[in-house]
Amino acid sequence: MKRSALFPALIAAAGKDDTREYATSCRFCNVGCGYRVLVGRHLKPQSPDLPVVTLPDGKFVELVPDAACPVNQGDYSVRGAFLSESLYTGGGPTSDRLLHPMVRVKDRLVRASWDDALDLVGTRLKGYLERYGPESLGLYHADWFGGENAYAYMKLAKMLGIKNYDISGRLCAASGAAGLMRSLGNGTHPWALEDIEHAETIVLAGANASASLSAAYDRVFARAQSGGAKLIVVDVRRTLPARNAGRYGMFLEIRPGTDVALYNAIGNVLIAEGLVDRAFVDAHTADFDTYRAFVAQRYTPERAAQITGLTAEQIRQAARTIGRSKATLFLSGKGLEHQAHGVDMICSFINLALVTGNMGKPGGSYSPLGGHQGSIVNPPLFAGQLGDVTIPNRTIFQMYDQIERGTQKALLLASVQQIVNFPDADRFRSILSGKLEFLVVTDIYPNDVTALADVVFPAASWGETPFTSTNTERRVRFYEAFAPVPGEARPDWVVPAELGKRMGYAKEFGWKDAEQIFDEMKTGQPFAGLTYARMRASKSTNYQMPVPTAHSEGTVRLYTDGRFPTPDGRAKIWALEYLPQPEPPSRDYPFTLVTGRANDNWQSGYIFSRTPQLVARLPRNYVRINPGDAHRLGVQDGKTVRVRTRRGSIDIVAHVTDNVPPGVIFTLWGYPDSLTNVLTINVRDPISQTPCYKACAASVERV
């Protein structure tokens, strides 16, 4: 039975008077599960399967996964299960929401009116512009918080000539987007979730998808379990998908960071054994001959076996499974993106989809799975969805360098924590607190950057203000507003709009609401055929981009005609060398430290830390260590150990488990108040500038 099957009973129980239904999507991962929302004065708690939350205006709200939404079909993860508890109720765990603007007076943040705070920021920014030019200003915001908000910031950057402009996808999806861009000519995910049900083989590389993209993984698991598809999992850790693959396909337990060698060797076997789709390769790809010679010469299964720790036979078998399937779906996670050469890993993986003709056909495609949902408008690195808002951007890391040198004076941050998320975190904390002159933060809770800010604006969030984003299959997610805005909070876009007005662009920033922004920003975009009214009518199903016209029903998958948005219309096959990790284990730091996510905690735990049910499930961060290593070091399960790297150390509870192989330790990337990123290395992919969170050298000692 589906949880959503209970909904009709609930509506009946609710009475007809003031009860209203809305559509929304989960605020967390890139699956973007659809939800139905009921709000009314007469909803009563029915059962523990339908949690009810009381809003500050006395209305009750209930959220139920939408059985009619093609994304999740009533399914949900434990993160989505407590969505309603993440709403502001006026009390309880969410009561520390930011409710009014604040400005720094000496060492303290004191309450200010919106007008005073905006005037102050406007005056300061104008001053910097006049004295030092636009180089002195920088903007950095979330990319999951809605296209409308992103567009307002982009427009401000464009008007003021600001080139220091970046989004949080830099830490997350940039390698995947850049890899897609290089191979296919566009950074957009080309696939459809329904490809899972058409695939005969599903290759999951570097993705603990059951923990991070759960409802999508549920579909993968169901497909494998029913015998419809073989599951091949490539991972360093023995995750749940890895164990599933052991049963329903094969698990390739690879050494950290050696993926390029594996995919090149699979390519070698595919070609040697005649398992390539020659017709597709000839008609739709470029540079196959270079690739063929390269992998034949340099990446025999035997050589790749030495690099990856697999056997040549395993590599051959994987290649045969892939090559003999009618449709193979290639999916990758942060294990390929959070790397020093993540873009190379992505491109070498996409090569396999291209040589086997698995692109743009049912069940045959490639996609990075992603973290958060994405903004539906993005600055250039995420190109392909640009419209007329183009900004030559500098990355947040370049901005930090500029701040350190003193050439950048001010930084505006919107809905992005900083320190907890940055590699070599302590370094960034000291730059922000020591070198920056003027810091403006818009957010929903106090955090590590509001503590350092000169001005803080309170944002309205999910459920309180409408906005749009997109999930991994380019399906537009429309978040309706159904709950009151806390205190004086306002939507994120209000800050850039009001600043724009104060800096001489009253006409350009005259929007009254998010819908007006949407109608402006959609021109020339792949969602040009949508309106708020149309999205509302489509409920949580919505449309897959491109939706070019008002009559278009959307686009299930891209590249069905084999034409790619490259200059010659062909996808590019890349000959790429395997490059070793930037910081290999040594005598003093004998372990490879891998970071990643957990099922119960979303990213840096912003919402998680205010959801008691989830905190109870994952009350603290941990470091996983193999029993053999633990025994050698005298480390006991449940006891605190010190994990040290060349950058810093943290004390953390050891979890002794063969979930990690010998020589590898694993800890959570963003557990709140546990600064894992004090340990990680600030080495970044040369193309995407995404940090290598997935591998650095570390030591473990008892304390």
Partner: protein, 164 residues
């Protein structure tokens, strides 16, 4: 191991405290031993032989299972997964219940606690009594099994019959 009436009430009281802490105060009375049905599960001898006993609780439509843990304790849980209602399977080696649908795992040792997976709440624990003859009875449940509205209504109807 024999659990007397007082112990089984303690189980329910502890479980009710968990429910009371959630926004579902209206359900505390649900597990009240006074109104809970008393259902025969099987005998100690059968359990010793098979390691587990299947039964239904609190209604005939709601599958449950009693199992004997490695330390000798006898425990029982609703078999209806709290994620979306699939029937969970007992894995004696891990002493946990595993759902075949989306792989939620629940501890049989620790009051049905969710060990992994999408399930948002514990597997409801069923309070047992073993009488002098070795007959095992289910006498209460820590929370409603998954199934919400219609379950609640069905269960309430039964309670009305059972309660004095």
């Amino acid at each position: 191991m024999k659990m007397n009436r007082r112990e089984s009430i303690a189980v329910i009281a502890a479980a009710s405290a968990v429910v009371a802490a959630s926004p579902l105060d209206g359900l505390v009375g649900y597990a009240s031993p006074a109104s809970a049905p008393r259902v025969k599960v099987g005998t100690k001898i059968e359990l010793d032989r098979t390691g587990r006993l299947s039964f239904a609780y609190p209604t005939a439509a709601q599958p449950a299972e009693a199992v004997q843990l490695a330390d000798g304790r006898i425990v029982a849980y609703s078999r209806i997964c709290t994620h979306m209602g699939c029937p969970v399977d007992y894995r004696p080696k891990e002493q946990s219940f595993v759902c075949p649908c989306h792989q939620s795992r629940f501890s049989a040792r620790a009051k049905g606690r969710v060990l992994d997976g999408p399930a948002p709440r514990r597997l409801p624990e069923i309070a047992l009594e073993v009488d002098a003859r070795g007959d095992i009875y289910a006498v209460g449940i820590s929370a409603p099994p998954f199934g919400a509205a219609e379950t609640v209504r069905a269960v309430e109807a039964i309670y009305r019959e059972v309660a004095p």
